[in-house]
């Protein structure tokens, strides 16, 4: 068995037990303390003071423990040669377990003072008893050590399992966030499509009415000179305020007798041609009427410009969101870029925008998704530039690939961010509640990859960042 020389007697529990059995036969006091117990006999419950020590001669005793849920957990089964209640007995503390006879047993049951008495009165029994006790203790200590080791291993396993769970949870969370964002975008797209549809009717009504109103004015006006002023108004593009200011001075100089500021302002927005007409006809036609006709034409011009803008925005919104069919189809990315630029007009308005969109072949893709990519990149550039700076949007084709470049003149991307910029949850917009969700570029990359393309972000040598997307035709 063991290659080293173990303390032999410690392993010879059977021999010792046989010796003790023999002694119990010979010593009547011991024999009178030997009891027979049926299976199911409870020796003691957990948490009690113990007055007796039990030495199991034959049979089996089960040690168990009741947890908080009142469930019994079996700990060990003790066989012949084992003491039961040894720890409580030796320390005088409370029992740590329940002990129940699990097979018919023969047990030597002794009170403490009896036990000590035997040991002192019968030196023959003292020695084997002590040996047996030490053997018991050694075995339990060994078990204890094994348990400790096992607990440590289990703790380690639990720890790594917990870390794996943590990582899985984090991944799940970011997937969830991405899904929520996608869902949001889908809802937004639906809303936009619905809104675009609903606003089309009133926009069309305004456009058509303006047109009809124009015809009415043109035909009903019997007076030739008044309809001339109406047409001048219709053709007049609006003037900016500084031009209006300087032309008010001109009107005041040319028509010093007017002395009516609202009228002067209206006249200031007339072309020089109109001034000559006024001078020519002012004796026959009241000035106010001429100005009014011009103003009417100008207002209809404004209505037309405004409603055309609404109609164009709606058209772009509809093709931009493509909610009705965001599926693989033959699309031209150039159209998508143009729509995106129009939709983001309110952001791009005050930047110095360079657009170079070369004719490119169609490709098979999802227009709505790709537009989301352009939007993400352009909005990021606008955020970086704030209110002034250059931004460029370009597309071109070569060797069966379509290239889209979007660059800005901002501070560029810090080198430590370059490698992480397409990671989920990477954002530099912390604390800004609006759109800094940190998913934009991660989703963009996903979309581009779904189209079999690639996306990269670098810094330009002349300053600022550039995003390049390459897509196969």
């Amino acid at each position: 068995m063991n290659t080293s020389s173990p303390v032999k007697w410690l392993n010879e529990r059977d021999v010792i037990l046989r010796f003790i059995r023999k002694l119990t036969e010979e010593l009547p006091e011991l024999k009178s303390h030997t009891i027979k117990a049926e299976a199911g006999t409870i020796l003691f419950d957990r948490g009690h003071q113990l007055n007796h020590l039990y030495l199991l001669m034959e049979g089996e005793v089960k040690l168990s423990w009741t947890n908080k849920k009142k469930e019994e957990m079996q700990l060990i089964k003790l066989g012949p040669g084992h003491f039961v209640g040894l720890v409580a007995f030796a320390t005088g503390g409370k029992t740590l377990t329940n002990a129940e006879v699990s097979a018919e047993s023969v047990i030597l049951k002794m009170e403490q003072h009896q036990f000590e008495q035997y040991l002192s009165e019968h030196p023959r029994i003292m020695h084997p008893m002590q040996q047996l006790m030490i053997s018991n203790m050694v075995e339990r200590f060994g078990n204890n050590l094994k348990l400790h080791t096992k607990t440590n291993i289990l703790t380690d396993e639990l720890k790594s399992e917990r870390n794996e769970l943590k990582a899985a949870y984090a991944k799940l969370e970011s997937t969830h966030e991405a899904l929520v964002l996608q869902e949001k975008m889908a809802t937004l797209g639906e809303l936009v499509a619905g809104f675009a549809h609903e606003i089309n009717n009133p926009a069309a009504a305004i456009m058509r009415s303006a047109e009809t109103l124009k015809d009415h004015f043109n035909s009903e006006s019997s007076n030739g000179i008044l309809s001339l002023f109406f047409r001048l108004g219709l053709e007049q593009e609006p003037m900016n305020s500084s031009e209006v200011r300087s032309r008010i001075l001109k009107v005041q100089k040319e028509f010093p007798w007017i002395n009516n500021r609202p009228l002067e302002r209206k006249m200031a927005q007339m072309p020089d041609k109109a001034f000559a007409l006024i001078n020519e006809h002012k004796k026959k036609v009241p000035l106010e009427e001429m100005v009014q006709q011009f103003e009417a034409g100008k207002l209809i011009h404004n209505i037309e410009t405004g409603s055309k803008r609404v109609a164009n925005l709606v058209k772009s919104l509809k093709s931009y969101s493509r909610q009705d069919k965001n599926e693989l189809e033959s699309i031209n990315i150039r159209d998508g870029l143009q729509d995106t630029i129009l939709i983001l007009g309110h952001r791009l308005k005050y930047l110095n925008l360079t657009v170079d969109l070369q004719p490119i072949p169609n490709l098979l893709g999802k227009m709505g998704d790709l537009n989301q990519v352009w939007t993400n990149i352009i909005v990021n550039a606008c955020d970086v530039l704030d209110k002034s700076g250059d931004i460029g949007i370009e597309c071109s084709a070569n060797d069966q690939r379509i290239l889209v470049r979007i660059w800005d003149s901002g501070p560029g991307i810090p080198s430590e961010h370059l490698s992480r910029i397409f990671d989920t949850n990477f954002t530099t917009k912390n604390g800004q509640a609006e759109f800094g969700l940190g998913l934009g570029l991660a989703i963009s990359k996903q979309i581009i990859m779904q189209h079999g393309g690639s996306i990269s972000a670098t810094n330009r040598s002349e300053g600022g960042a550039v995003f390049e997307v390459s897509l196969p035709v």
Partner: protein, 165 residues
């Protein structure tokens, strides 16, 4: 012409500017209108108004403007001597809650008009603001009785302590 109180409109979209000016034409016999398409131009116009010894009683301002936005402009104007007393109104469809709160707290914003407006609504706000302005800053309120809120003006005159003319 004698001393006049100006209305300044700051708006970058020319058609929209045209519409506001038309809606306020009735005020112009007494309160001349000046216009600017950007914050920068607005400040130049204000300077030239004061150089010709006139004053700005009311500023109507859009929020989204080229360069400095409307709220920033109003905050700046509220710190300048010439314009700190001018009534300030934001006319916009695009100022978010945060910007608006900033305007109220830091620029003493007097009113907020959201686009699209109605002529009646715009006239009412302008009447109310100019009435406030003249009550606070003008000794003689009689010339304004016809154009502005006569009831409030006469009440203000009654409540004024007699001055030693």
């Amino acid at each position: 012409m004698d001393h006049q109180i100006y209305i300044l409109i700051v708006e970058d979209e020319l058609e929209v500017m045209d519409a506001i000016v038309n809606d306020l034409a009735a005020f112009e016999d007494q309160f001349p209108i000046e216009t600017a398409n950007s914050s920068e131009e607005a400040k130049q116009v204000i300077t030239s108004i004061y150089e010709s010894e006139q004053e700005v009683g009311l500023i109507l301002c859009d929020h989204i403007l080229p360069g400095e936005n409307g709220v920033e402009l109003l905050i700046e104007l509220s710190t300048l001597t010439h314009t700190q007393n001018s009534k300030k109104v934001l006319v916009t469809g695009q100022a978010g809650l945060e910007d608006t709160v900033k305007a109220v707290n830091q620029a003493d914003l007097n009113h907020y008009i959201s686009k699209p407006w109605t002529k009646e609504q715009l006239s009412d706000v302008v009447t109310e603001q100019l009435t406030d302005y003249v009550i606070e800053h003008k000794a003689n309120l009689l010339p304004f009785m016809a154009r502005l809120d006569g009831t409030r003006l006469s009440e203000a005159m009654r409540n004024r302590p007699l001055t030693d003319h």
